[in-house]
Symmetry: C2
Subunit: 497 residues, 2 copies
């Protein structure tokens, strides 16, 4: 009887996962292959299938399975799948259907208004939409409930278990330390020369190098592929079909090299989830932050390291023969690690990047709490940028309007980026006890690293919550010291302070 | 009230069409992009979504709309959509669910058995599966019902309105005429030299020529794209996304040139269906035969014509500079129109092709009627091939086992190929009254032809049945004389008899 019920529940999850896989493929196709005019019809199809997914998520049938199986199964996978399904059910079912529909329309409208506002540096036109988006999110937070801070209800969407209390404990420490490091870096007489990186890098060569590196990372090309898109991403359609996209800038190889490795890190996570979790909501990275920890681990801790280039610079030069034949490793390595405050988050170096996140976190927390108003944002944004990053945006396009997140109603998302960074540093610290990290990287064989990540993190998919995985792997709760130590060690060497 | 009901009906059709579009994309992706290991999961997703389509098709909800709207709507599109939906409902609902499920499993198993049987030239291993498939189709025909011949019930799946009576009236005429032509051709002292076509044709050049020709045909690349696959096909995901695939053989340019143009003909049909039919079952070619008439019209009546190469030979040579610079047009044109009986249908020239279809038609009609037994097939196949095409297959791999159709349970499909050919000849004859066909083709501007096809055929999608469209366009019922005249005129000139 209970066995049968479990099977019925799994069948419903499988139906839902099937629609999600179809949606994933349609999304990927729109960004890679779809002809221009296809977009209109395809969007309607996506809307229709998404609605079906929403229906299943909030169906009485789903609720029935959740109630009946909740404390009534011996199967660990079913137990976790029930928990995750209950979470989704509650998130969706607590919002009145009519309100949710209005919100979805608002999101879509707001994104296009934002796009134009950003182009025209016109915050005022976006303001009323942002106000409504904030108001909806405040209302949703109320529906979902929270113990201490209203923003916790939103954070929980992206990083289950992480709260304002947790962030307010670690973020200021990181910020202070990074500000201190930034000062020393800027005062150092040693400064990398980024002009040595200039050159012309044919797309085909960049693609070959990207394919080679993904292959060395252990990315399985029989369960994935690499394509070119305007905005790079990785997408897991299922454990056997995890696709990566990248972007080739013929004037700057860094876009593709670090972008491909970053997305490759995401893809390795999805490719190495336990196949037994297939067709359940557990066959996915457990949170935005843990996902980002994997991409940043590969991008920063590996691909921006000296050890990595000691091995790969030679290989890289074979793909960029005209540009670096006379350039020694040292100035190359320093140039790709230049620290230089930027207005734009996605162009930030690895040291100032977390500071961009702090700006956003503090503003969106205050917005949702009602402590500040939308119309005050531009000024407050610029003040905080000046305070944390040390530069003041000259307009809103390079300031408060630069990110799509708020236009899409994603409040509570930004902290994941900084959390991912801290998680990565903690994993890195722990990994160094098992693996002679620099030596392995210098040898260019990442098998051990990939296996360590699979065994400790990837295989679990969403079976464990982010802080649970962190604790299981490192024996510690969130500890920002490792990130600070890592950056401090690396940059004091480069900038010699 | 009725308006509301119509809207509800359209919404249900739209939901169904959305799943079908997703299925189409998954199918296309599996054949073009999907990584090797993706197939397993993707097949399960396809199965799940197909099941959903089947559920909607046979749902009480669908039946309710059909019953309520059947003679009760002023809207012509709704009226036709109801008819088509009722047809699908009846076809599906009349087969007991359990039986249908067994049949689907049998199909899938039979296809893999057939593949191996073909490889090993082992008809016996396939025999029991084919027997079951025939038995199921006989049973289904009984469920569906028919007036005169049991095979009519199957034919109606592919070519609604065309019956054994219709085919038995025209096929023998065509067969006799073509046999007569074939005799004259084989006795002619003039024989084309196909060896002049040998050469090496780099894939990239073939691709460029394919793109150029599709473009000239009026194929809209903003609503489609060209890719490479093992088996070429065209697929309409929606009117704004109709994709073509082709195959490049570096030793034989004909595969890609005629293949691309053939699939381009299918694609033009789908691209030019009235957009108001979107998301209904009418947004599709009306039958296999009419679809094939469009691909064959472009492939044979245009691209194998002398007028076409008078214009395009020069262009073609720019893409194959090493091969034909010294070869005059005449031997080239004759070589690509060489008539030579072949064992394999898909390798047949345009004159003997219909004879291959006659062999299949007569055998499957007799099989379904119970007049012959599966185990007699190999011998009967070879006898008929000898009688109609003039050559006797040396084994079953190049005989009765060559096509996948029967292994997939598709009985009643083959006649569409020959019908498409006859339709095309009738359309061609009619078009010549409106358009100076050869002149237009010689000028290389196909705009008028494309517009004629759109206005007379494409725009209607499935609003008209095949014989209805034939009659509306030509003012005649099916008349095989036009095909015979066309072939006779063309080949008597080439072979000078």
């Amino acid at each position: 009887m209970s066995k049968e019920l479990e099977q019925d529940f799994l069948n419903l999850l499988k139906e839902k996962a099937s629609y999600e896989e179809a949606l994933g493929l349609m999304f990927w196709d729109l960004r890679t292959n779809a002809p221009k005019k296809a977009v209109g019809n395809r969007s309607e199809v996506i809307g229709m299938v998404s609605q079906k997914v929403h229906q299943i998520t909030t169906s009485d049938q789903m609720k029935g399975y959740i109630d009946e199986l909740k404390n009534n199964t011996q199967n660990e996978i079913i137990k976790k799948a029930v928990e995750k399904s209950e979470d989704s059910y509650n998130r969706s079912a607590k919002i009145p259907a009519e309100e949710y529909k209005e919100y979805v329309m608002l999101q879509s409208k707001a994104e296009s208004v934002w796009e134009e506002a950003k182009d025209k540096d016109d915050f005022e036109s976006f303001e009323p939409y942002l106000e409504k988006l904030v108001a909806y999110n405040q209302k949703f937070a109320g529906y979902w409930g929270y113990d201490n801070h209203i923003y916790d209800a939103l954070l929980d969407n992206y990083e289950p278990g992480v709260t304002v209390a947790v962030l307010d404990d670690v973020f200021p420490k990181v910020r202070n330390s990074l500000s201190g490091l930034l000062d020393k870096i800027q005062q150092s007489p040693i400064q990398p020369d980024p002009s040595v990186l200039h050159g012309h890098f044919p797309k085909a060569d960049q693609e070959k190098f990207s394919l080679e590196i993904l292959s060395r990372m252990g990315y399985d090309f029989e369960a994935g592929r690499l394509d070119e898109t305007v905005h790079p991403f990785a997408i897991g359609l299922n454990v056997n079909d995890v696709r990566v996209t990248t972007k080739y800038d013929v004037k700057d190889f860094r876009t593709a090299v670090f972008g491909t490795i970053h997305e490759g890190g995401h893809a390795l996570y999805e490719q190495n989830i336990n196949p037994e979790l297939a067709f359940t909501p557990l066959a996915d990275g457990t949170s935005m932050g843990i996902h980002e920890s994997q991409s940043l681990f590969w991008e920063n801790f590996i691909a921006r390291s000296e050890a990595f280039w000691e091995n790969h610079y030679k290989l890289f030069k074979t793909y960029a023969p005209d540009s670096f034949s006379d350039l020694p490793l040292d100035p190359f390595y320093k140039a790709i690690n230049e620290v230089k405050p930027s207005y734009i988050r996605i162009e930030a170096d690895e040291l100032t990047y977390p500071l961009h996140i702090m700006v956003r976190y503090e503003l969106e927390k205050a917005l949702i709490a009602g402590d500040i108003k939308v119309k005050e944002l531009p000024e407050l944004w610029n003040d905080k940028m000046e305070e944390y990053v040390g530069i003041r945006p000259r307009n809103n396009a390079e300031g408060v309007l630069q990110d799509v997140h708020w236009a899409g109603g994603s409040f509570g998302y930004f902290p994941s980026y900084a959390l991912g960074y801290m998680y990565a540093a903690q994993f890195h610290n722990r990994m160094e006890k098992d693996i002679d990290f620099d030596k392995v990287i210098r040898a260019g064989d990442f098998t051990g690293i990939k296996e360590w990540l699979t065994e400790n993190i990837h295989q679990y998919g969403s079976m464990k919550k982010p802080l649970e995985i962190l604790n299981d792997v490192t024996g510690e709760k969130l500890n920002p010291d490792y990130l600070v130590q890592y950056l401090s060690k690396k940059y004091s060497k480069i900038y010699q302070f």
